[in-house]
Amino acid sequence: MPSKYQIVKKDELTPDISRISVYAPLIAKKAKAGQFIILRATQDGERIPLTISSCDGDDVTVIYQKVGDSTMTLDEIPEGDCLADFVGPLGVPTDIDGCSKVAVIGGGLGCAIALPVAKALHDKGVHVDLIGGFRTKSIVILEEEMRDASDELYICTDDGSYGFSGFVTGKLQELIDGGEKYDRVYAIGPLPMMKFVCKLTKTADIPTIVSMNPIMIDGTGMCGCCRVTVDGQVKFACVDGPDFDGHKVDFDETIARASTYREFETRRREEHKCRLEGMSNG
């Protein structure tokens, strides 16, 4: 039997994005699409919130991008080793009731979170059009999994190297213009992407759920760090979300808040890279 919080499987989806499955049977039993976990890779490590990508038996799978010091540290832990901490399932599951045809939109790493939502809807018999946006062909992830979880899959690349040429909003607009009628849109990805999807769906009058991923510490409502203004009210993404009505989210405020520790993060990332290079040179 694996140990508590053991990484039972690990693979690299792209050079920047990895997927790990972690032994956490109680979480695996309870988790629903849209919920997240918080992990610490090492003792004294940072608490990293990650949305659950899938659960299989006793294992919980999360996908992360090696963008900062802490995710790079996480990535240094090999398959078979254990994480220091793994807590969840946190947040409210995504509302998948009351619709018959939806568009699920993922942007980059957001596709890892859009996937379980699409799958939950698709398994329920909802017609799912899945739009996955990436910068370029070489960083497309989860294409097969997304195809299995949807009725139609549309991959978009910003540079036109694969699939639809342009942003996910371009594809969505094209589908709506072509006569597709959606009861609801789910948008999960970078803040500017979600903001522009919401702008479009507001004009098209389609209810839209977005999944927020703000800075967080505890994930249980204790620090208030993850607050998001929704319809003029302050909400805590960790306990009230992470999903919110996208037409009511104050995206500009959220984008500013996401930059709170940017200088620190940049410095840490550069230091981490230096350490790595130092090691490989030495």
């Binding site: 807590v87 249980t220 409502g221 607050r227 203004t229 500013a256 709170t260 993060e265």
Partner: protein, 461 residues
């Protein structure tokens, strides 16, 4: 012969201008000689008022007498018979409103330094690895304790000593609750908290970290599927309140919980730590309680100019007198009778200033304190880049929203009888989760009371 000095024996402290740049403990504790000197100020009253002022009724004259006699083991036995966490209480209890507030020596001069003596005895026991706890043989009954703060730790310890098999479920990756995430290292060293937690483990208490009850398991699952015959909810009041003024979501506005958690729990004050803490030049801390003092003194240690902004006057500050005194010594500026009206941001959404209105004290309000009233036209602008909101906390809804039949009041606090019983059979609660934000010692008292009720309840079963 009693020492009739009107003043407490001074305790050595780090100098203010030194300590406001480090996180080491401010108050260094009594030497043996100082403790003997202070202990001899106690008159050993026949009807000790101090004991009545203590929420857990520590036999104060008795433990002090043992110090006078040089019997440290005996002193610790007296102390720990009533107080499970004396090294913590000796440091963080508001003694001036409790035991010391009732001490007859305080009528003329300063009261006996009961808190300092408590700390002295408790530290001696921790250093010498002394344990007095006697554990009854296992009785085969299982109790779940939710939350490892002062209420949960006390309840678990009491039940373990009675022979119960106790599991504490803690949401964070470290046990201790507010003792670990809230109260800073310089006021309560985390090594002391962990020693107290380790002592509980020695009693056989199992501590499961990273378990958010209400999410991973519900109370019903604990009782129906996992065989716990009683549950104690000691989940505290962790949800931060905000002022609800414009600008509170700007970059640079933090709840005290967030600011303190980053520094204390995540060790953001250490060099080369992966968890960031905001780099501030000038900080306004809103509120006048212990949490406000803690946040202000942390911000000072992070190198900022720090102002406490409080809407009432000096006499109304709810913080312990010692914390206010220490904060002032460390160079924190108190802007009293000032109330924030709005926080202003720059074009990048970052705090650049705060608009404040001056207040005056009017008639007493429901709390008995004089109500602060704004002085019209007295608004002024404070240049700050950081605002830390420390105006109180509310109980977390995770448990109440997932436990059918558990009654709560309109403030979200779990409704309990004086004995810690709730509206659900077999479910008990205490501490901030039922009273709203209060003190460590009151939570401990509630944990102790609930343990007694749980024992009575399970003996009948």
């Amino acid at each position: 012969m009693a020492n009739m000095s009107l003043e407490k024996t001074k305790m050595n402290e780090q100098a203010p201008e030194v300590r406001n740049k480090n996180y080491s403990e401010v108050a260094l504790g009594y030497t043996h000689e100082q403790a003997l000197n202070e202990a001899s100020r106690c008159l050993n009253c026949k009807n000790p008022a101090c004991v009545k002022g203590c929420p857990v009724n520590v036999p104060i004259p008795q433990f002090i007498k043992k110090i006078q006699e040089g019997d440290m083991q005996g002193a610790y036995e007296e102390l720990s018979s009533a107080n499970a966490l004396p090294a913590i209480c000796g440091r963080v209890c508001p003694q001036e409103n409790q035991c010391e507030g009732k001490c007859v020596r305080g009528i003329k001069g300063e009261p006996v330094g009961i808190g300092r003596l408590e700390r002295f005895v408790a530290d001696w026991a921790l250093e010498n690895d002394v344990s007095t706890a006697k554990v009854a043989p296992p009785n085969g009954k299982k109790v779940a304790v939710i939350g490892s703060g002062p209420a949960g730790l006390t309840c678990a310890g009491e039940l373990a000593k009675k022979g119960y098999s106790v599991t504490i479920f803690e949401a964070f990756h470290v046990a201790g609750g507010v003792l670990s995430y809230g109260i800073p290292e310089f006021r309560l060293p985390k090594a002391i908290v962990q020693k107290e937690v380790d002592n509980l483990r020695k009693l056989g208490v199992d501590i499961e970290l990273n378990m958010v009850i209400g999410k991973i398991l519900s109370i019903d699952e604990l009782m129906d599927e996992m065989g716990y015959q009683a549950v104690f909810i000691g989940t505290g009041a962790g949800l931060p309140n905000f002022m609800k003024i414009p600008g509170e979501s700007l970059v640079g506005v933090f709840s005290a919980n967030e600011y303190l958690t980053r520094i204390n729990l995540m060790k953001a004050y250490r060099e080369n730590n992966p968890t960031p803490v905001f780099e501030s030049k000038k900080v306004a801390v809103l509120g006048g309680g212990n949490v406000a003092m803690d946040a202000a003194r942390c911000a000072k240690r992070q190198g900022a100019d720090v102002h406490i902004v409080y809407r009432r006057g000096e006499a109304e500050l709810p913080a312990r007198a010692e914390e206010v005194h220490h904060a002032k010594e460390e160079g924190i500026i108190f802007d009293l009778l000032c109330n924030p009206v709005a926080i202003e941001g720059d074009d990048k959404g970052r705090v650049k200033s705060m608009k404040v209105i001056r207040m005056e004290l009017g008639e007493p309000d429901a709390s008995g304190r004089r109500r602060p009233v704004p002085i019209e036209g007295s608004e002024f602008e404070m240049d700050v880049d950081t605002v830390i909101v420390a105006i109180g906390t509310s109980p977390n809804p995770l448990i109440r929203s997932t436990t059918p039949g558990l009654d709560t009041n309109n403030r979200g606090c779990i409704t309990t009888g004086e004995d810690g019983t709730t509206s659900r059979e077999g479910v008990f609660a205490g501490g901030d989760a039922s009273t709203g934000a209060a003190t460590v010692i009151l939570a401990m008292g509630a944990g102790k009371t609930a343990a007694k009720s749980i024992d009575e309840y399970l003996q009948k079963k």
